[in-house]
């Protein structure tokens, strides 16, 4: 009796698997790309253009925090390409043996900006204002790349006599929340719940971006985020993956990225 049951369950499982596979084959080719949340808008457009140029190809994106994506891939999530907001998480996958050492390429760079709600309740006009007492600041958590870069920017500023020592601690004392991703930082500043936040320049494109003003961080203090992309070793479409990377690096791909506030692959 028990054996029969196990057999039955096995049969059901096999049914499931073959059903899943059948679905995947019904489209000609489907490329599954895990990409950092900050790439959402730019990659969506690149993906649409790529589909237009390659009939029969369907591009599927999974946008989330780079660290979360890396973790998902390590736990066995099926992906063809990984695009991270920091070389650190690409490194994680290389160490895990999921990406070839040589395969990684930098395709874009990003920089930090300070944002404040349009009506500017804390009257922020320059970077030094981040240290003024009784203002509320929202940063990304140090666990996410942009959060780590934000802290690096504060370190850089602290070295600069224009800000002086104590700047970092004064700014950190104003932090009311370390958000789990950069879009949440933007959302909370756009809602006016915080007086300021630090995000990527490329985040200021959607509807939320219209609700905020921005202060540029000078290049010598700024932290430039490098965005690597690489095919995964167990990708089911290795050739198509390379074609996609080439497209991202082509002038069309680079133009789209620039449109969304990214700096080009080459400094």
């Amino acid at each position: 009796m028990k054996l029969k049951g196990i057999f039955l369950i096995g049969l059901i499982c096999m049914g499931c698997f073959s059903a899943c596979r059948g679905q995947a084959e019904s489209r000609e080719k489907s490329l599954s790309i895990f990409a950092a949340a900050s790439l959402t808008e730019a990659f969506t457009e690149i993906g649409e253009q790529f589909e237009g140029l390659n009939p029969g190809v369907e591009v599927n994106f999974n946008f989330a925090g780079s660290q979360q994506l890396a973790q998902q891939i390590i736990e066995g999530a099926p992906a063809d390409l990984f695009s991270s907001a920091s070389p650190q998480y690409m490194e994680t996958l290389i160490e895990a043996g999921l990406v070839e050492t040589e395969a990684e390429q930098i395709f874009a760079r990003n920089r930090l900006v300070v944002i404040y709600p349009k009506e500017n309740p804390a009257q922020i006009t320059q970077l030094a204002d981040l240290a003024q007492p009784r203002m509320s600041l929202v940063l990304a958590a140090p666990e996410v790349p942009v959060g780590k870069y934000s802290l690096e920017f504060l370190d850089n500023a602290e070295q600069d006599p224009a800000f002086g020592s104590g700047f970092r601690d004064a700014v950190l004392a104003n932090v009311v929340s370390y958000e789990e991703n950069v879009k949440a930082v933007l959302a909370k500043v756009a809602l006016g719940e915080a007086d300021a936040g630090i995000v990527y320049r490329s985040d200021l494109t959607g509807e939320n971006a219209r609700q905020v003003g921005l202060i540029d961080i000078p290049e010598d203090l700024n932290v430039i985020a490098l965005y690597p992309i690489a095919p995964l070793r167990n990708s089911s479409h290795p050739e198509l993956s390379v074609t996609f990377i080439d497209f991202v690096l082509s002038s069309v791909g680079q133009d789209i990225l620039a449109q969304y506030g990214f700096l080009g692959a080459e400094p």
Binding site: M1, G5, L8, I9, I12, G65, Q67, Q68, Q71, P121, S136, V138, A141, E143, V144, V175, V176, S177, Y178, E179, E180, A184, K188, L191, G192, E193, A194
Partner: protein, 296 residues
Amino acid sequence: MKISSPASISGPPSPSGPRLHPVVGPARRLGRWVDQSWRLAALPLLLLFILPIIVLLTRASPQQLLANLQEDQIRQAILISFRTTLISLVVIVATGTPLAFLMGRYQFRFKRALDTFIDLPIILPPAVAGLALLMTFGRRSLLGSWLEDRGLQIAFTQTAVIIAQVFIAAPFFVRAAAIGFAGVDQEIIQAAQLDGGGRWQVFRFIIVPLTRLALFTGAMTSWARALGEFGATIIFAGNFPGRTQTMPTAIYLGFEIDLDMAITLSVILVLTSFFSLLVVKWLVAEEREEETEESR
């Protein structure tokens, strides 16, 4: 007395549990086959419930768990979780009891609509709840700006953590308590009133003792749900270690960077929730047994 609790799915009170009718002759084998098939058919879902929990519990060694418990961030998260959920529980019981009494013992217009509002937080995605709370208590809202003028900020504070927990978890208590209150026999209340009991006395000495189990199970379920609250909290209260970072928020961030920490906190959450629900079920079973003995 009738006891209902959303936390318990129990069979009929007979000690032998559910049985198929005794079958004789050639039909007997068929009967046994049907009986076995039911058990097999129940297996896949049961496995889905149990397997991930077992895997989670066995992923880290006890020594590793204990070592992780020494870490400041983990301790802070545990402390904040227990502190906020206990305050939430007090608020839920204090404000939920009158509402449950109203819903359980009175008939009025729009009762069904009100009832639906009370159920809504249970099925609403917590992210929606968080957004709604942020819009209501945030700085730009009427309420929020009024409070801010008086020097009170709610978003990003522990108060926000508690409001989020109450919003999400209170319906479980209200629901259970209302069903309990509705089950109290009107004749008992009338008898107590005839004996000169005032309204408060009747409530305190008749209704509460009769419904204590429903109130307790409701409170425990609410508390367990508050302990697991994540979606509304992270939107409304944000994440600040030592201030608003609860266990579930720390787990979410830990999943991204420090899997060990996430697993440690997950294990604590699973064990706490499991045993609090188990205590509830055990108490319900005890009470049922007592009742059946009394009725004999």
